[in-house]
């Protein structure tokens, strides 16, 4: 690794983010508080209400997500089916519900913004469970498993691997035959995700789950711990970039009480797109895009709901498909490329790397801060995701929020020709926002969004000066986890059609972060960037820095199914 690249990697330790503090969010009801009904702040179609019973049936990892600093992924293989069902009955009460997690998240978030700290003093330990087609076949029946209309789920990740651009040569480390789990011969039946705020809490929870599973003849095929990066890189992935800033806002409410939406709404009713966004840059999406059988997104109209899907067994309603990809990251290769290409273009490695991502390492978007990693912008959750790509972004128009000074940052200018943010930049590839795409309007793009729940694994090297040879050689990467109601129309669509394509959704190269390509053995990927004088430059990505090493397609059922259909009581 060159000195320039090593220095850029080490300098990530100095990544600066100025968090908001003293902000008092509009109160949301406690999860159990009764209150009179009230009209929503922004008029629009009625959104579904998830009362206590239904909110207790939806897994909390799906909505709103665990977002814990320490997580463990247990890939399980069943032995005796009756034993597995008994184990599952014992596990069911431990599964975190949407209502529990949402209540925790509301309080956690309010305290974080009020106290201006990343980690308020609140802890909990949560559990989620999901099953492969193979696992459901065992627990319920082959007929029940085949009743899932999602063909990709029925096939499994391994069967779809080369379609996703993974290596076709078995000699390549990313080939499915080399995966640690989820390959042709080592597909898991179930995936248990445990999450905690403290490592010791996680360890004891994992031990309890392992003991219970093994006592019922269930083997742990593979276990992977995930953990957030330390210090200033908390919430970042291993290349050093803040991850998970832009998540869709799920429509729906817990009750008719004021402000009892699943996703809090912060836009004033007079804001230009108050019906489309929950907060600046956070698109509102109907829950059926993530939960089977719920009202989903219309292909043409971003506000009105479309009919729910019905191509699944009845007991699976309000469950969600889970895509897991264990992605190895070669951090040194990424930063070496950034250093080399940056030198060629006359920009710093961190600036060039940020153009590949579309955000600076601290999360500040290039679209709003093209030249510097603005620390205040990065830490302002009402501003750091507020930008369009094609047109000048208008001010967001927030409801009054006590203590929030307002969005003080320069609005994003239109960047139709990708002078600021390349079309291939990771965040522009996977969510083109206001742009047209190869599949139509921004209304179609909302059909492609997923709820991402990933977390890094392995020892960090970002921010480390003079790393030891052992640290350099250590494996690290991302446990990519995402929920959706159609694997083919969401995860596979975004991966194959956008990230892996040089011409979709816009001409300009492959996604330089997650893009995979294997066209008859040719794994060459390219990216178009602008030189300092604005000329388009085609760069060939010299090495692969993200490789799949395992995973699976799973289904996270409603909690009631754990003691119902999946317990053989369908």
């Amino acid at each position: 690794m060159s000195t320039t690249a090593a220095e850029a990697l080490a300098a990530l330790a100095d990544t600066e983010t100025l968090l908001l503090g003293g902000v008092e969010l509009p109160p949301q009801p406690a999860a159990h508080a009764p209150a009179p009904a009230a009209a929503p702040a922004v008029a629009g179609p009625a959104e579904p209400i998830y009362d206590d019973e239904t909110a207790d049936d939806i897994q909390g990892h799906v909505i709103p997500g665990f977002n814990k600093d320490f997580q463990q992924f247990l890939f399980l293989r069943f032995g005796d089916v009756d034993e597995a069902r008994t184990w599952l009955a014992g596990l069911a009460p431990q599964v975190a519900t949407m209502r529990d997690v949402l209540g925790f998240r509301r309080e956690f978030r309010a305290r974080r913004l009020m106290e201006g700290i990343r980690e308020p003093d609140m802890t909990s330990t949560w559990l989620a469970v999901a099953f492969s087609h193979r696992g459901i076949s065992s627990l319920a029946s082959a007929e029940q498993a085949d009743a899932f209309g999602e063909e990709s789920f029925r096939q499994g990740l391994s069967a779809r691997s080369t379609y996703l651009g993974d290596a076709t040569d078995p000699a390549e480390p990313g080939h499915r035959s080399n995966w640690v789990v989820g390959g042709p011969d080592n597909e898991a039946d179930a995936l248990v995700v445990l999450a905690a705020d403290q490592p010791e809490d996680l360890r004891s929870a994992v031990q309890r789950v392992r003991d219970a599973a093994e006592s019922h003849g269930i083997s742990v095929q593979f276990s992977q711990m995930g953990a957030t990066l330390p210090g200033e890189l908390t919430g970042h992935e291993h290349f050093g970039f803040k991850d998970g800033i832009s998540q869709p806002g799920v429509r729906g409410r817990l009750s008719n009480r004021p402000d009892d939406e699943i996703t809090p709404r912060y836009l004033d009713s007079g804001s230009p797109h108050a019906k489309l966004f929950a907060k600046p840059g956070q698109s509102l999406v109907w829950p059926g895009q993530f939960l089977l059988g719920e009202p989903r997104q219309s292909p043409q109209d971003p506000v009105q709901p479309a009919e729910p899907a019905a191509n699944f067994p009845g007991w699976a309603r309000r469950g969600s498909y889970l895509v897991c990809r264990r992605l190895n990251q070669d951090v040194l290769a990424f930063w070496q490329f950034a250093a080399d290409a940056g030198e060629q273009l006359g920009v710093s490695p961190v600036h060039f790397a940020s153009t590949l991502v579309g955000r600076w390492p601290n999360g500040a978007p290039l679209m709003r801060s093209p030249e510097t990693a603005d620390a205040a912008l990065a830490g302002d959750e009402f501003a750091n995701n507020h930008f369009l790509y094609n047109d000048v972004t208008r001010p967001s128009g927030l409801r009054p929020i006590n203590g929030y000074p307002g969005d003080r940052f320069a609005n994003a200018a239109g960047d139709l020709f990708a002078h600021v943010c390349p079309h291939a930049a990771h965040i522009r590839k996977v969510n083109p926002r206001d742009s047209g795409t190869d599949f139509g309007t921004p209304a179609d793009t909302l059909l492609r969004l997923m709820l991402r729940r990933g977390i890094p694994y392995g020892e960090p090297i970002a921010g480390v000066s003079d790393p030891s040879p052992e640290l350099v050689a250590a494996e690290r990467g991302l446990m990519f986890v995402a929920y959706m109601s159609s694997i083919e129309d969401q995860f596979e669509f975004v991966t194959r059609r956008w990230a892996n394509s040089a011409v979709q959704p816009n001409l300009g190269g492959h996604d330089p972060v997650i893009g995979q390509r294997d066209s008859r053995g040719d794994r060459t990927r390219t990216v178009q960037v602008r030189s300092a004088d604005g000329e388009l430059v085609d760069l060939t990505l010299s090495r692969e820095w993200v490789r799949p090493t395992g995973g699976g397609y799973f289904f996270a059922p409603p909690i009631s199914a754990l003691t119902g259909a999946l317990a053989g009581r369908g």
Binding site: L276, S298, D434, G436, D438, F439, P442, V503, Q504, R520
Partner: protein, 324 residues
């Protein structure tokens, strides 16, 4: 000064000699389809590059997927139904890509794709009927085509048997044409009213404002959204010369032979060139010992031509600049 003096043929193909009357006849065909100047969205215009001077600053390529988006939306939960319906009738193929499937013993052995417009062939029929016949024979690789197969009472019949039941030469779907391509590029945003579309202008500041948008095809939305965003910057847009539609990319990632290994390159550009094909054939060479229908894409057997079309990316090109 106008940047186009004389519109070229799609792909700059030369099916006729340089002194053919076809070339003179082609110019007014295009000219009639482009208005001098249409205000689109914001201050910029769509202009006729043969009549309005333009200082070109950028080129823009619109890309979209060749498989019909309307069918995927109509059959959101049953993709097999969408593929079956697309193959059943070329009227179901509205994304400026049409295809013809040949089967051998019930298995797909060849899929031919075309994005050639009826206007080109009609003009050829009117000015160079002998060349039209020769072209049909060349494209279809058969000498069986007869002049009377192509003409009815002296008029060219686009839906003749060689361009319907026995093969494909050019578009027959009613909204796949040069007229529609250039027409879409001159459309303005209208009030989003599903029951009464197309009347009032709307106040558009960004890509969310024209929503909802009820035309279901990917191609129309793609061209509208890009053109409108471009003219909102104050610049004007115009078709490149030559106006036309192209297959810009085809992706066989994840296509596997019966033995599970990756396929070889079975694509043949029959008209146009790589990155700008007007006619494309997908067929396994005989020595390989299997057919297209024996290939699996992402683990799924190929039973329809649409499964191949899904991996073809279409394109149209424009220039962007300041009016002079």
């Amino acid at each position: 000064m106008a940047i186009v003096q004389r519109f070229n043929t799609p792909g700059r193909l030369r099916d006729v000699s340089d002194d053919s009357p076809f070339l003179d006849a082609w110019q007014p065909v295009i000219d009639e389809l482009i208005r001098d100047r249409v205000n689109l969205s914001g201050p910029g215009n769509s202009v006729d590059p043969s009549r309005v001077g333009l200082e070109v600053r950028e080129h823009r390529t619109f890309t979209w997927t060749g498989f019909p988006r309307p069918l995927l939306m109509q059959h959101r939960d049953d993709r097999a139904a969408a593929f079956d319906e697309a193959d059943r009738d070329r009227q179901n193929q509205p994304e400026y890509l049409e295809w013809f499937v040949t089967r051998t013993g019930g298995t797909i052995s060849r899929v031919e794709f075309s994005c050639e417009t009826p206007e080109y062939y009609k003009t050829l029929a009117r000015t160079e009927p002998d060349e039209l016949l020769a072209l049909y024979k060349r494209v279809l690789r058969t000498s069986a085509v007869r002049r009377e197969d192509l003409f009815t009472a002296g008029e060219y019949e686009p839906k003749n048997k060689w361009n319907t039941t026995k093969g494909i030469v050019h578009f027959i779907m009613q909204i796949n044409s040069m007229k529609d391509l250039l027409g879409v590029q001159q459309e303005v945003p209208t009030a989003p009213d599903q029951d009464n579309p197309g009347d009032a202008d709307v106040d558009v500041h960004d890509g969310y404002d024209p929503l909802p948008y009820f035309r279901p095809t990917a191609a129309d939305a793609r061209m509208n959204w890009d053109s409108w965003a471009l003219t909102r910057t104050g610049q004007s847009v115009a078709t490149i010369d030559a106006p036309g539609l192209y297959m810009i990319d085809w992706d066989d990632t994840g296509f596997e032979k019966p033995d599970g290994t990756p396929v070889a390159d079975y694509w043949t550009v029959e008209r146009g060139e790589n990155g700008a094909a007007l006619r494309l054939r997908y067929e396994v060479p005989e020595p390989e010992g299997f057919h297209v229908g024996d290939i699996r894409i992402g683990g799924r057997p190929v039973t329809t031509g649409g499964q191949i079309a899904e991996h073809i990316v279409m394109a149209a090109h424009i220039v962007v600049g300041t009016e002079q």
